[in-house]
Amino acid sequence: MSYLAAIKPIVRKSRENRTIVVSLSILLLIGLLALIGPWLSPHHYASTDFEHSFVGPFAGDWHLFGTDDLGRDLFVRTMLGVKVTLFVAIIASVVSLGIGVAYGAIAGYVGGNVDAVMMRIVDALYALPFIFFVILLMVVFERNFLLIFVAIGAINWLDMARIVRGQTLSLKQREFVDAARLIGVSGRGIIFRHITPNLFGVVVVYMTLTIPQAILVESLLSFLGLGVQEPQTSLGALVNGGVGNMERAPWLLLMPAIVLALILLCFNFLGDGLRDAVDPKKKT
């Protein structure tokens, strides 16, 4: 009841916001296409066809985006890439959400010295070029999906922790929490009835801003050859493949690049729009 109440105004404002509506629609469309597109296409993502390598886009036989050096259908592979990229990004965001919310909420709720130490740690970690550590991690351990999730999640939780901590801290100091104590609400009641519902909106919004960051990291790793491995693919890996053939077959670079850019753009617009909807003062 109260959770719904917390996001209701966001939903109401979002419906009036063209940016949010448009970017959300595009994202849903891409997501839908990634799910059912390969199923509609006659081609399989891993099946090679050396007689039809480097076919241009829209050039017949349902090769919508053309084919690559091995004659694999680029549309199906791009849709697979979208699926993999989104999957990794969403899982990674959930990981970072979990860490960030827990860390931030504890720091904010406990407060005092615990909070000071916990936030100094976050400040220190903020200063690190994390991606290098992730790459080191990838080098040291066998590459696998799980590790990618964890690694990306582990670097993206800092923002969430800061925001949740700030919110919790200010909520805790709001007088309605004092009022709740005075009427006899228990510690649990205060956390679950009075604090979390008011955190909910902000967390939802920042989650949409975490996803594009996770996408960026995943595709960067795949681009460098450290992420998803063949015959599986992701948008970063596809762009990397496209770079090698860009003079001969520019579509191999452009198609996945455009899709990737579009997804990132939509997520960023969505996040920005939602943030404004939650807090009109922080308009950027």
């Binding site: 200063a127 960026l216 670079l253 997520f267």
Partner: protein, 307 residues
């Protein structure tokens, strides 16, 4: 102020140690030793190799040894480039990376601030919409997409600039990688500048300045510029980290023999000491630059300076 500075400097030390320990432990927690992936060696040779690299000592001893080496600027030997030390390799590659990074950073700051200010001062105009639109694209499109697309356009189709490091010379071969590296940071800085300037311009004290009959030019110059630029200062740290990360990609795309390329080669070849060395080197660099930024902030913000 002195206390603030001292605190910051002292605060950086545990972070540095944390970084080193993290990288060190990661490498040493690797399943098996660093040489396991290679062909099986006779036990006595393996022992010799282990002794040569001090792998027979306890983890703590190795860590202390590594630390004491670090203090003297010794990052240990490379596992792959057997004849070189990690420090040698970084030293050789650093000038190129530095050149590229500095170019990108100055571009980012100059263009980013100029674009952001222009947009903020003509809020909601077409210029503003154009800048915000381009900036949004800039932060959304990753470097590894921008760079190859730029190569495709400016090198392959238009043939104005060399497509790779070896294909050109002098300034010309720096232009494409430098711009590509700077673009996302230009976008971030422009957005930040715009948002921050707009916030300052709608503050109560700017309203006071308007009530005092100051022209917009005077308001911006004397009242708004400094407070609007301060948040940018704290973005410089992340910007530096962003440029370093981007340089790895850029060096890969353009085939530039910089630190980033060694890093990727090292990563793909599982050259643990090299990768660890570069991670530590970069992390230290970023931490130190952040420290400088922090100190600058303390000097510029009167509310901190007073402490």
């Amino acid at each position: 102020m002195l206390r603030y500075a001292l605190l910051r400097i002292l605060g950086a030390i545990p972070t540095l140690l944390l970084v080193i320990a993290l990288a060190f432990l990661m490498v040493h927690a690797a399943p098996g030793g660093p040489f396991d992936a290679e062909r099986v060696l006779p036990p006595e040779i393996e022992a010799n190799v282990a002794r040569a690299y001090h792998l027979d000592e306890s983890l703590a001893q190795q860590f202390v040894r590594y630390l004491s080496g670090l203090v003297r600027g010794d990052l240990g030997p490379s596992y792959r480039y057997r004849d070189y030390s990690v420090a040698d390799l970084i030293g050789r590659a650093l000038p190129v990376t530095l050149q590229l990074g500095l170019l990108a950073m100055s571009l980012a700051v100059v263009v980013g601030i100029a674009a952001g200010l222009t947009a903020a001062l003509s809020k909601n105009s077409y210029v503003d919409r154009f800048v915000t639109g381009v900036a949004m694209t800039g932060i959304s499109v990753p470097v590894f997409v921008i760079a190859p697309v730029m190569v495709l356009i400016f090198a392959v189709y238009l043939d104005w600039l060399p497509a790779s490091w070896t294909g050109g010379s002098g300034v010309s071969r720096l232009v494409l990688p430098g711009v590509a590296l700077a673009l996302p940071q230009i976008a971030y800085i422009a957005r930040l500048t715009r948002a921050s300037m707009i916030a300052v311009l709608s503050s109560d004290y700017v309203r006071t300045a308007r009530a005092q009959g100051l022209r917009t030019r005077s308001i911006v110059r004397y009242h708004a510029l400094k407070p609007a630029m301060l948040p940018l200062l704290s973005y410089l740290g992340p910007a530096i980290a962003g440029i370093l990360t981007g340089s790895v990609v850029i060096e890969e795309v353009f085939g530039i023999p910089g630190v980033g390329q060694f890093f990727i080669r090292g990563a793909l070849n599982r050259d643990y000491t090299l990768v660890m060395g570069i991670v530590i080197f970069y992390a230290t660099l970023v931490i130190l630059l952040n420290l400088v930024v922090d100190l600058l902030y303390g000097i510029l913000d009167p509310r901190i300076r007073g402490r």
